[in-house]
Symmetry: C2
Subunit: 149 residues, 2 copies
Amino acid sequence: MEGKNSLESQLRAAGRRMTPQRILILSILDETGDHLDAEEVYRRAKKLNSNLNIATVYRTLGILKEMDLIEQRYFARDHSIEYYESVNKGEHYHFTCLGCRKIIEVETPKILQVQQEFSALTGAKFTHACVCFEGYCASCVDEEENLTL
Amino acid sequence: MEGKNSLESQLRAAGRRMTPQRILILSILDETGDHLDAEEVYRRAKKLNSNLNIATVYRTLGILKEMDLIEQRYFARDHSIEYYESVNKGEHYHFTCLGCRKIIEVETPKILQVQQEFSALTGAKFTHACVCFEGYCASCVDEEENLTL
DNA sequence: CTACTTGCAAATTGTTTGCATGGAC
DNA sequence: GTCCATGCAAACAATTTGCAAGTAG
């Protein structure tokens, strides 16, 4: 499996070891379409390795993030919980509906453009952008309108 | 003082009361150019009202945010601490330099454009966008280049 | 066999809450 | 006088850490 080899070589390069826990946690994030917080990663991983500990999950998420294999995300205005997704999902941003809590993915080149313009203007180098939107999705907007009639 | 009257009427409208603590906390955020976390608001406010409690600061920041008099912000990738600034600063975003921790304000219409486009496309209504950038400012980039020579 | 990793439990940190007292209106 | 707000201390929740035992290379 290609992903496993690439994980191994990247870990090696960082002087780290390949462990079943790390393989498991990355594969969960690679294969899901959802956005998982540490607790949920733990819950899912524990089904497959019952004596896995939550501290290991946090440590592993930290190194996977450091190695740029996963992305940290926040949703809506409350940033008290971090969510993660595999970087293999490509460049996109998130809109959270405050009515139904649905998360809609937003694709746009404009965020990168802002970074390029600002770099050109100031000479700064970007390493990361954190963008999240909140509001009400079309069907929740409709619902609210019906209520206020 | 205009700000005080407007604060009072907005509090009244929400069935809330005007208190010295609330006036103090809002005035600190209105008058500073910095981005303050709750702890720092508390530190500054306590100098002027020595038996102010940090719980009051958190409660007040919560209602000022709810009333849209202040904005919550996060800087760089670590969102474990919330920062606040008065909304009277106008629409802008933030770039945090990981080298010198300087925060540079970014002005661009593109974020609003993303929201408008997405609204037009999907019918969603935006209430809020959270955007923060991180990287290295021009002088920190230069410094690093000199080191690697 | 050497260091990196893990599991476990305890600690930390930013923030929130329950409750009796105080203060705005 | 009525309720909302405050101060205080205790509670919380997400995350991190110290350490002894386990395990990858």
